[in-house]
């Protein structure tokens, strides 16, 4: 019944250490429900999205550009015979767009109608964040995407790193 077991094998290396956990949500005394977030890099900043939302992480297959598509669409790829539209998450978030490197990955996420691909510059790691450690974001990024920011977290106490948590459902609406 775990999220992990329903994921197809392979291509999920970044999250593999957690695959043995029965659930991606557990309770930590006093600090609220713990949710697992996948951290990834867009441009120079680190972002996070709930692991439960992400079905698969892909190395970008050959992409086909679609003329006349909206600007945030990078193109389409074939994932096991299914045509998947790939969005440029950086463009959706109005961030700088340095050229993609070999570390670039596509996160497959399902909104209620279709499976979409989200291109990110790099997949970092998985953080387990208790609810109490997540600050509510007021305005972090551009005003029109700020709605998609569900919170801010500092995953390491020893370092001054900021993780911007995204609500993919709002972003892909």
């Amino acid at each position: 019944m775990s999220e992990e077991s329903s994921r197809p094998p392979g291509q999920t290396r970044a999250i593999a250490p957690f695959a043995t956990r029965a659930t991606s949500r557990t309770r930590v005394e006093g600090r609220g429900t713990v949710t697992e977030y996948l951290a990834f890099r867009l441009g120079t900043d680190a972002f996070g999205a709930p692991v439960a939302m992400i079905r698969e992480i892909l190395k970008p297959p050959p992409m086909t550009h679609v003329p006349r598509a909206p600007r945030h669409v990078l193109g389409i790829v074939s994932v096991r015979g299914l045509v998947v539209t790939v969005f440029d998450l950086r463009r959706l978030m109005r961030l700088a767009e340095p050229p993609l490197t070999s570390r670039a990955r596509i996160l497959l996420v399902g909104n209620n109608e279709e499976t979409l691909g989200l291109m990110v510059d790099e997949v970092l790691e998985v953080h387990r964040l208790p609810e109490g450690d997540i600050e509510r974001a007021s305005v972090v990024v551009g005003s029109d995407v700020s709605e998609a920011v569900s919170g801010i977290a500092r995953p390491r106490e020893d370092r001054d790193e900021v993780l911007v948590l995204l609500d993919l459902r709002v972003l892909l609406r």
Binding site: P67, R68, V83, V84
Partner: protein, 700 residues
């Protein structure tokens, strides 16, 4: 010939069996729901429809006893459906018993057993007694502050549902939603499924409001026990604007709703007792019942056996390859091995082709299934509209891909509705102009090459082009200066423009065209085209031309700016080398002459913005000549790669608004290739005539 009859009979048994089984399940469902103290009006409708279909089938195949039983049953179910009689134990028992008898009658029919069936006679007597006792319902008007215009357009069934919901103390909400015309089908389905757990949708009415020609605004009446907050929460995401409809004597309204629930004057002035002229979206949504719910295709086992054989043959090819590999390893003669490899490849190709053909055949179903449903709708509509209509059907045995058949139901149903509501005159009008009293609607289907043509022809009043032009002018759909240069055919085609066709002024004067734009969109989505012919006073003919299958198509693969595109061969006439220096610019449009006639051309590189301005096109280009209906267009490409069978895969909803592509296909080099939607491009090019140049740029 007897073979055909046998096959048809076999199909009858299979279908009847399926229906009776479904019937059993549904009656059980009704029983369950009743035990839980609720009821599911949709389910009653399902049972009603199932029995109705069964009746038609039985009569068609001379299963008279089954026909008699279902005929009586239908009466009872109609009473139940309209709430004229309660769904109580007695009714349920009758239904259970009936299902059982239906099953046994079918078995007897199959065995050719014609011995008397005392149980049936007895049961029929009970049923008849019951129908006679049927309780008529009072026609109390709902105690809600509903505009009389709205009440007037509710069907008897909708009124009954409204009454029932009100009686059970539910609140009534009005949802105002704007839909994109192009995506209304999906959006409405989504809304319905979101709303289903929270209440019952009573009806949909177009408001006639909103000036955007690409959208339509609907008012949806929803009965629900939930509070406004809950509904806003659930349905807000689809962009619905929700207001409670206050009860008369109003205790409820906490906020003052807009004064009217109201279809705009359009609907009001035309309010009648049947839902006909309400406009396209409600028709399409209501007619959802016309589609068969099942995603399954019934397949003759012999077709599957053939496929199985092919698979066996392919297995032989595989072991042949294995032997070759073995011989290679053992150092056999390369020459011989090569010769055998070529032989194997040929055999492989042949079997693959057979398999493709076999699978296509499996997907094919006769149009008769849809036609039968259409005939039923026609009968019902003509009764509602109080017009005498004689329906003549030919070509019901024409086979089309299952997918296409399903998608066709709604547009065809819409065309039928238009023909009856607006095409055919009343008996007195007909007699006055010297036509036969009974109107005729012909529904014809036939195969034409790789296409299937479906025609719907009526001998009604036809379209008054003069008034159509006036209306289109008033809408700004065409300019005054264009009128004289517009051909009669183009004028008739104005009926397909949104904003012209959905407006009252046109539908009244032309007597047709409600929602024809949606019909055209739906047919276009299937890769088909629709043509219209009409003579004032004589009648109207709509022809729909469709590809036989969508699944696998033969395509011409071309290259433009280093990218591969597939152009479906169905619309391709030929491909020629672009004549050197032969481009003439006429009226801002590029043309070439091809064997003495002028051909308009469009450069794919420009159309799809594939080259930066400083990138030059190759010295030698090719022109792919595409044709649909009367339109011809030359698509200019860099290189022709060759013919290939491709499987078209649709884009996801995120790219649905991208025009010009039918989808993507695996062209064999890992990367997906785009399949050009020739019809859309042809349309785009000819639409450019009526619009300004900027308008043709993609709207995304």
């Amino acid at each position: 010939m007897s073979d055909v009859i046998d096959r048809a009979r076999e199909e009858f048994f299979a279908e009847a069996q399926e229906i009776i089984e479904g019937l059993g399940r549904d009656v059980l469902g009704l029983d369950d729901a009743r035990k839980r103290g609720s009821q599911d009006p949709e389910l009653v409708n399902d049972v009603f429809r199932a029995v109705h279909t069964l009746k038609g089938l039985a009569a068609l195949f001379g299963a008279l006893r089954l026909a008699a039983l279902t005929h009586e049953l239908e009466e009872i179910l109609d009473e139940l459906r309209l709430g004229r009689r309660p769904l109580d134990d007695r009714a349920l028992n009758l239904l259970f018993q009936a299902t059982d008898i239906c099953g046994r009658l079918l078995q007897a029919e199959r065995d050719g057993d014609e011995s008397p069936f005392p149980e049936l006679t007895e049961f029929l007597a009970t049923l008849r007694g019951d129908v006679a006792k049927g309780v008529a319902s009072g026609s109390g008007v709902a105690p809600f502050d509903l505009d009389p215009g709205v009440l007037a357009v509710l069907t008897e069934y909708e009124e009954h549902r409204l009454r029932t919901n009100v009686e059970s103390g539910l609140s009534l909400y009005r949802l105002r939603v704007r839909f994109e015309l192009t995506t209304i089908d999906e959006s409405l389905e989504r809304l319905k499924s979101n709303a289903k757990p929270y209440g019952e949708i009573i009806t949909y009415l177009p408001t006639g409001g909103g000036d955007d020609i690409d959208r339509i605004e609907l008012d949806i009446l929803l009965a629900s026990k939930e509070s406004l907050e809950v509904l806003v929460d659930v349905l807000g995401s689809v962009g619905a604007d929700i207001e409670p409809v206050p009860r008369v004597g109003g205790k409820r309204p906490s906020q003052r709703p807009r004064p009217r629930v109201a279809p705009a004057p359009v609907a009001l002035s035309r309010a009648t007792s049947h839902p006909g002229p309400l406009g396209a979206p409600p028709e399409l949504s209501r007619s959802a019942s016309l589609r068969s719910v099942s995603q399954t295709v019934r397949v003759d086992i012999r077709k599957l056996d053939l496929l199985m054989n092919v698979v066996g043959e392919l297995g032989i090819v595989r072991s042949g390859l294995e032997r070759l590999d073995e011989r290679l390893r053992l150092g056999g003669s390369l020459r011989e091995i090569r010769a055998d490899l070529v032989r194997l490849e040929r055999s492989f190709e042949r079997h693959l082709e057979a398999m493709q053909q076999g699978i296509l055949e499996v997907r094919m179903v006769p149009l008769g299934q849809v036609f039968e449903r259409l005939a039923r709708v026609a009968r019902q509509l003509s009764r509602e509209a109080d017009k005498d209509v004689h329906l003549v059907v030919t070509g019901a045995e024409t086979e089309v891909d299952k997918l296409i058949v399903e998608e066709l139901s709604d547009p065809l149903m819409h065309m039928m509705r238009n023909a009856i509501d607006h095409g055919i005159e009343t008996s007195s009008e007909r007699l006055a102009v010297g036509k036969p009293e009974v109107g005729t609607i012909a529904l014809n289907a036939f195969q034409k090459g790789n296409h299937v043509v479906i025609e719907l022809e009526d001998d009604g009043r036809g379209i008054d082009t003069e008034k159509l032009v006036m209306a289109a002018l008033a809408r700004g759909a065409i300019g005054a200066d264009e009128v004289r240069s517009t051909s009669r055919k183009d004028i008739l085609n104005l009926i397909f423009l949104p904003g012209v066709s959905t407006r009252k002024d046109v539908t009244e004067v032309s007597g047709r065209g409600v929602g024809m734009d949606i019909v055209k969109t739906n047919i276009g989505r299937l890769g088909g085209i629709i043509d219209i012919q009409s003579e004032l006073g004589i009648g109207t003919k709509l022809s729909v031309t469709l590809p036989i299958t969508l699944a696998i198509i033969r395509a011409l693969v071309v290259e433009v700016a280093g990218r591969s595109f597939a152009i479906p061969l169905t619309n391709v006439q030929e491909a020629v080398v672009m004549p050197a220096g032969g481009v003439h610019v006429i009226d801002d449009r590029e043309t070439i002459s091809l064997r003495g006639s002028t051909l308009r051309i469009a450069r794919l590189a420009t159309l799809f913005d594939l080259r930066t301005p400083d990138e030059a096109a190759p010295a030698r280009e090719y022109v792919v000549v595409a044709e649909a209906g009367q339109n011809r267009l030359g698509l200019v490409v860099d290189r022709l790669i060759g013919g290939q069978d491709v499987v078209i895969k649709a884009f996801g909803p995120s790219l649905r608004n991208v025009r010009g592509f039918a989808g993507a296909a695996d062209l064999g080099d890992q990367r997906l290739g785009l399949v050009v939607d020739t019809l859309a491009l042809l349309d785009e090019m000819s639409a450019g005539r009526a619009r300004s140049a900027q308008d043709t740029s993609p709207r995304v």
